[in-house]
Subunit: 128 residues, 2 copies
Amino acid sequence: MYTISEVSKLLAITTYTLRYYEKEGIVAPIRNANGERVYEDTHLAWLRFVLRLKQTQMPISQIREYAQLYLEGEHTSSARLNLLEDHRSSIQDQIRHLTETEKMLNDKIANYKVFISKGNTLDLSMDD
Amino acid sequence: MYTISEVSKLLAITTYTLRYYEKEGIVAPIRNANGERVYEDTHLAWLRFVLRLKQTQMPISQIREYAQLYLEGEHTSSARLNLLEDHRSSIQDQIRHLTETEKMLNDKIANYKVFISKGNTLDLSMDD
DNA sequence: ATATAGCTTAGAGTTTACTCTAAGGCAAAT
DNA sequence: ATTTGCCTTAGAGTAAACTCTAAGCTATAT
């Protein structure tokens, strides 16, 4: 059982963002007698999952879609499976792009190092 | 020598975006007698590089910084090297996150497949 | 009793990166 | 000569994801 500020500290996101996620249908904490949000461990686990999806570029709208399917029950499991498989492809694409760009940067960085160590006596083109 | 619409087609970005990038100090095509933008191969190569940086989550502001350093000449080469090395770290972080999330999705997807093939007779928790 | 800290809401404001509109210039085609 | 197509500009509009403000409630501390 956590207050909004405890969750905020645990997950390193602001309370504003937590309220925003609730407004967007991404998380639904329960309320205590004072009408204050109470998060349980299941909410924490779900939010950690959400943050990973975000970190891997899944838009809020799609995260909400997944959350809603979950709330709709077991008959949505194959829809959820599709969503996860699509996101996995997206992740694999991202890894490909990043790996290519990392290689390119390795080359450029090596060129800069040679250039600098030789006392800037070489030409570097826009592509170096 | 390319017109703005040719560059737009070659790079699959809109002419609006190309003008926006110029306003933001990211690319500086020359102008013909009619005041129209003329892009050369160097601009194309630079824009291709810019698109990779964007694709790997470098913000426009930082891309502009790199472009400005380039325009300021050779004495900025070590500043540019720092920028590229920082971005390489960022890329490596991203690859780590993506790889972890891919593994997590592999597990979840496998669970969903078992669940569905067994005729939904199992329990799936929020974390599956 | 009242101050303080932390919670609530609705709704406005911000940032980033485009995306589009309006008004107009110029050149080739009909 | 005028239509067509492509170009120009300044500046307004949009979408996503926050981020904050204002007004107010409630529990504990002094």
